[in-house]
Every structure is written in structure tokens, then in C-alpha cells.
């Protein structure tokens, strides 16, 4: 049963996607709790112009340059979103929509500019945006692992601060913490987690990896530490299963299958999670109704 694990290429892909699932699940928790999960969508879309500009400047498809370009563009996108919200009457969701669509449109323009004017073929850049897990090389996985390790370490080191600005920003300010600095660091973590994943699963599906595992974990627990661990576990399991199904059973693109696995985990959580699950809520509701009926009947007897 496990002979498929012998394939070295598959091993790398499996390792890469699993690490990615764990990291994005953990870091996504803060985005979801701050109700800014759609910012991750904007960041993922903003990676396209970043990657293209990096390619135009360096003229090289080396992953590390593309990643740096994507991080810078993603960070500028988050900054623009916040700036528009602070300096106009536009709400956050509109601001996200404006930034997302314009950045991506600009990216498409750059992509066509590269393919028309620079002789180099831009097919690799296309893949970078739409995701191509099967093409993960050992070097890519090494970069993903190192970046993930750095991101998770920073997350653990600043856990207290992040927790504070997520749940009670005013208290954090009162304690003398610089809200902006910590928030920027958190945004940088989110941008980093998204950028290392885009190449594997693509722009839209990366958003799913940031949002779905934390949302599922949130249904199971009230504690942030437990939520982080659960979200990481969900993300990791979904990536493992998704990669397994896609490369062996179904032979289709890996990204969508991983996301469908995550969606399945979320759906099961929605049904069966304790206290917040639909099954539990219905059960409590039935129990209440029954006890209410009993009370009513006893009351009637008393009246008679």
C-alpha cells in the first residue's frame, strides 16, 4: 500500500504541500479572527504584478526573486487597502475589491507585455499564478520549508502580542504596544504564507488554504492556542489527502483536490463540532422543546 511513497518526486510534492497546509492554516487563524480573511484574497491576486515586475527587473525565473517580488506587491496591496479605508468613506470590503481587481488587472497587462516584448517565454509565470503542484522541485520544497519555519517561529515568538491586537487592540495600545508595528508584522506573516503557496495551488485556491482550516477549527474550540493547532492539523491532513488523491487516484491538478478536502473537513466540522455543530444544536433544540412540552402538560394538569 505504501510503495507509492518510494517515488522521490512524489515525496517532495507531498512534503511541500503538507508543510504549506500546516503553515497557512496556523497563520490564517489571525486573518479569520480579525475578520480580514478576504485581505488574503487581495494579497494572493496582487502577487501576479509582483512576480511580473520581478521578472522584468531580474529577467530570471529563479523562484526566490519571484517570491520577493510577490511579497513586496502583496504588502503594498495590504497597505493600500488600509490606507483607502482610513482616508475615505469606503468600507473595507469595497477597498479590498478595488485593490484586488486593479492589481490583478495590472498583472495581466504586465504578463501580456512580457510575452509580447521580452523574448523570454513567460509560461513559467503563468504556472506560478495558476498553481502547478506537480512541478514542485526539491529546491522549491526547501525554500517552502525554510520560509515556513521562519514564519511559524515568528508566530510563536510574538504569539502573545498577536493575540492581544487580535482580540483587544485598545487594551494593547493602553499597554504601550505599538499596534501598527505588530499589525504590520502580522500582515507580513500572512503575505509570506500566501506567497509561498501560490506556486503550488494557485491564487484563488491559496485563499482557501488561509481561510477554510481556521474557520473549521474555530467551530471546535474557544481557545486560540487550540485553534492554531487544530487549523494546522486540518490544513496538513487536507494537503496530505489531497495530494494523495490527486497524484494517485484521480490524476488531476493537486490544488483543487486539496481545497475540496479542506471543504469536506469544514463541512464535517459544521455538522459535528461540539456546541457549534448543526447536529448538536438540533439535539439541544429538540431536548428543550421536549422539556418545554412536558412543563406545559404539567402546568395544564395543575390548572385543571
Amino acid at each position: 500500500m505504501f510503495e507509492w511513497l518510494q517515488d522521490p518526486n512524489l515525496q517532495w510534492v507531498l512534503l511541500g504541500t503538507t508543510i504549506l497546509g500546516i503553515t497557512s492554516g496556523m497563520i490564517g487563524c489571525f486573518a479569520v479572527l480579525k475578520r480580514q480573511s478576504l485581505i488574503s484574497d487581495a494579497v494572493a491576486h496582487a502577487a501576479l504584478p509582483g512576480v511580473c515586475l520581478a521578472f522584468i527587473v531580474v529577467r530570471d525565473k529563479e523562484l526566490i526573486y519571484l517570491l520577493i517580488g510577490a511579497v513586496i506587491a502583496g504588502y503594498i496591496a495590504t497597505y493600500c487597502i488600509q490606507y483607502i479605508v482610513q482616508h475615505s468613506k469606503l468600507k473595507e470590503d469595497t477597498s479590498i475589491g478595488v485593490v484586488l481587481s486593479v492589481f490583478f488587472g495590472f498583472g495581466v497587462v504586465l504578463l501580456t507585455y512580457i510575452s509580447n516584448n521580452l523574448a523570454g517565454n513567460q509560461s513559467g509565470l503563468d504556472e506560478f499564478v495558476f498553481g502547478q503542484a506537480a512541478s514542485l522541485s526539491s529546491q522549491d520544497v526547501q525554500i517552502i520549508s525554510i520560509v515556513s519555519l521562519v514564519l511559524v517561529t515568528v508566530l510563536v515568538l510574538f504569539y502573545k502580542e498577536f493575540k492581544l491586537i487580535t482580540f483587544d487592540p485598545n487594551f494593547a495600545k493602553a499597554l504601550g504596544l505599538s499596534y501598527n508595528k505588530i499589525n504590520n508584522l502580522l500582515m507580513l506573516l500572512i503575505v509570506g504564507a500566501i506567497v509561498i503557496g501560490i506556486q503550488t495551488v494557485g491564487v484563488v485556491l491559496m485563499t482557501a488554504m488561509i481561510i477554510i482550516p481556521p474557520a473549521a477549527a474555530r467551530l471546535w474550540t474557544e481557545k486560540l492556542s487550540v485553534m492554531l493547532l487544530l487549523a494546522g492539523t486540518f490544513g496538513g491532513i487536507a494537503s496530505l489527502l489531497g495530494t494523495y488523491f490527486s497524484t494517485l487516484a484521480l490524476r488531476v491538478a493537486t490544488g483543487p483536490v486539496i481545497v475540496l478536502c479542506e471543504a469536506a473537513i469544514f463541512f464535517l466540522s459544521l455538522l459535528f463540532a461540539p456546541k457549534r455543530g448543526i447536529v448538536y444544536k438540533n439535539w439541544v433544540f429538540r431536548k428543550l422543546r421536549r422539556s418545554h412540552k412536558n412543563q406545559q402538560t404539567t402546568r395544564k394538569h395543575k390548572v385543571i
Partner: protein
Amino acid sequence: MSYEMWIILTGSLVGVTCGTIGCLLIIRKMAMLSDGISHTVLLGIVLAYLISQSLSSIYMLIGALIIGMLTAFLVQFLYNRGIHTDASIGIVFTSLFALGVFLVSIYARQVHLDIDHVLMGEITFVPWNRLTLFGVDLGPQAVWMLGTVLVINTVILIIFYEPIKISSFDPVLATALGINVVFIHYLLMGMVSLSIVASFESVGSILVVTMLIVPGATAYLMTKRLSTMIAVSAMVGILGSVVGYAIAYWFDVSIAGAMSVALGLIFAIVFILQLIIKKMYQRSHRGKIHVT
């Protein structure tokens, strides 16, 4: 009409259709739902193709309409289960999109759907895909489709203008006045899905999102009246497509992308002007005590 005129006309039609609907989405704080629907429409198109086995526009319109409504319904369902709007939009649209991409990659050999094509759009080919009726050449198919949707939207908007306005700004008052708020919500979602699908084939999903959100956002910065906002938004949509075509022509780049960039520039200019006016207003009122 010349080739360029048809493309600009198509872009402008998308601008007007999406611009008007976009205003309603923005004042209802549902801008990102349009981004979600514009992605899930892919699933509708794929399913419509798999069931009907034809690439006819009408099946795609129906499939996408159903999936668009389903997206809105699922987001509302999750929201009622205690998940915040942003997360529920994120969960629903990515999952349905993943299902769409999954189906495309399974039936890749049969479906003539290219994801790149769907996302980037090929407005360039619009003038060649013509509608002929009784042997008479009536012009590009996309123009007719967009025109029809625009007429439908305008009629609905004129009939339901007051209920839509009241339920957007004050749902509680609307309910008290006997307006069916849920009906209005899904009516609007239906209009959004229709507009997205009609625009989708010609300009790709990314320009649809831009056309839905950016003109409305620009107009929102300029006025406080809903009727003015809708008119301004439609005009910004047209301006964006004309300027965008010019940019695309000069730099030889993607037309849909250039139209997005043009709209972004218009938004940026209005945003900066708005900042300057606010600053000037503050300066002129500094130190003055208002006695009322």
C-alpha cells in the same frame, strides 16, 4: 462599425451593466460577494456544458445564474450559522471554484474551456463572434447579450428602485414597510449573476470584478445620492473602457487588463482629489467656532 468601435462598445456595455449593479452591491456592503460569484460562475459554466453538451450561451447563462444564486444562498446560510461574512464568502467561493477547476481538469479533453482564457478574457475576439439571424449579420454576439442583460437590469431597477434603495440603507424600516427584503436580496443576486455571466464570456472574470467594484467605489467617493451615484458609476465604466482601450493600443497589452488599470487610475485620481478637498475644507474651517 469598425473593429475598434465594437470592442469599445462591448467594454462600455460591460461598464454600464456592471457599474449600475456595483453601486447597489457597495451600499449593501457586499462588494466581495461579487468577486466570489465571478469565480463560482466557472462551476456553473462547466456544469451547464457537462449536462447540455453544448457551448451555447443560453445554457451557460442558466447554469451560471443558478450557481450564482447558490453562492449567495450558501454565504447567507453560513452567516446564519455564526460564521462572519468575510470568512463565509471566502469558504464558499473558493470551494465552488475548486470544484469547477477539478471538473475542468477531469474532463479537460472534452471541455473546450481554458481557465486562463476564462480568467483573462478575450475581448479581442468579440467582433469576430457574430450573431446572424435569417442570414443577416447583426453584429457581435456579445454586444447583443450584454445589451439584453442591460435592458433586463434597467427594467428591474426602475420597477424596484424604491424597495431596493430602502432595503439597502435600512432593512429594518423596509421590513416594517412590508417590503420583502429576502426577495430583494435574491433579485439583486440574480441581476449580479446575469451581469457577470454576460460580461464573463467577452471580458473575462477579472475585468468583471473591476467593472463591478471600481466604478461604484469611485462614484461613492463623489456623491451622496444613490441615483447620482449610479449615473456617475456608469459614466466611469464607459470612460474606463475607452481609456483602457487606448492604453492597450499604445502599449500592445491585454485589453481587459488595460481597462482594469484605467479604472484603477480613475479611482486613484478621484481618491487623491477627495483627499485634497477634505484637507482644504479642514484648513478653511480651522480655528473657526461654529455657533448654531
